[in-house]
Point group: C2
Chain length 222, copies 2
């Protein structure tokens, strides 16, 4: 579907108005750009999978289905070549730093003025990493525990990742099986694989690990 001669952008954000604003900014930078939208994690999967060659993904850090860095870890693993910019209402420097360490190509606070967003797009399209003013990537990398969890999540297959996200909503295997249209036995197999890769012994622990990864405060991370 993705045409080779047109730039393709994907905007993943659950807020329609902000999506629109972002699309507008993109068109100002690249007039003939094709812009696809995703308002949830589920649609993001589809859009990304059917457009694996998109030039840039704008990803809200706080979408229904995943909060935080889980979706970023997913993109990093399954579509590592697609640059991903985090767009977020949060502007805590620690969060920004973690986003970059998790592989984001940039970070755009939702409070940014339009022309700054456009400048960010230009910059990132040239392969640079864009950060808000006054933010520096000082200090070392991620917390070792956080890096471990992120690495584990990156090793998950797409199906396993989707199952893990649904575990994080407190769904039963049976419910997940129904949503994904497969048998419960299949989901159990996925769960077992997830537990092994994440080095935990039950689903509750897996969910907790994801929650810690996604936390955007100093408390659970620390």
């Amino acid at each position: 579907m993705a045409e080779a001669d047109r730039s393709t952008f994907i905007v993943a954000d659950d807020h329609p108005l902000f999506r629109e604003a972002l699309i507008h900014a993109v068109h100002n930078c690249v007039p003939d750009a094709e812009v696809l939208e995703a308002e949830s994690l589920a649609t993001l999967y589809d859009v990304v999978e059917s457009n694996p060659d998109a030039d840039l993904l704008f990803l809200d850090l706080n979408m229904p289905g995943v909060s935080g860095f889980s979706a970023l870890a997913y993109m990093r693993n399954n579509h590592g070549s697609m640059p991903t910019v985090i767009v977020s209402a949060v502007d805590d420097p620690a969060v920004i730093r973690r986003a970059i360490h998790h592989g984001a190509s940039g970070f755009i606070p939702k409070s940014s003025p339009v022309r700054m967003i456009e400048a960010a797009i230009e910059s990132i399209l040239q392969g640079e990493v864009w950060l808000p003013e006054n933010v520096e990537l000082s200090g070392g990398g991620l917390d070792s525990e956080e890096a471990r969890v992120a690495a584990a999540m990156s090793s998950l297959t797409p199906h396993q990742f989707r199952v893990l996200m649904m575990l994080g909503e407190g769904l039963l295997n049976k419910q997940i099986a129904y949503v994904l249209g497969v048998s419960e036995a299949t989901i159990k197999a996925h769960v077992t694989a997830i537990l092994r890769k994440m080095n935990v012994t039950n689903r509750t622990q897996a969910v907790l690990a994801v929650q810690r990864l996604n936390a955007q405060d100093a408390v659970l991370v620390e």
Copy 2:
């Protein structure tokens, strides 16, 4: 154990240095005060239970065993007459507001200068609610969902609360039984009661509800 003629204070914080500083401040305000310490949730249970008439509890919002407002909800329920001051490195006004709405008698940022901490202690001992400068309790109360979860947790018995906290560490019923020195059947009975009170259908959902209550960022709360 608590003597009627001496003021008793409890300092619950996992950071020894800060505990010491706090104790020092207390002694400056009330020279003959008896000050008890707790460095974890487990010891806090014991200290509070054996000193139910303490005059004031200093509670770190981020202790090993519980992060966030769970411990506050516990105190509110089981020792409602004991004033509890939240002490925290976080100074987000939203967090402060939520702490007060969850029944705290005050909020002391860890960054406060000593004399301000002493002023806070004086003020709270007089029955007033103490807040950092520049913070107002504007607007309404808690998010309805958050209030619902807090109310549910407040309805838990002490044992049920401890079991819930251990569920939040991903432990099996068998493991919880071993730690608490009771049979697994007892834990199952507690878990069933917890699920009913919290209006969820399985332990993972119960854990998620606690996580949302404890979250100190805008993401999970929103």
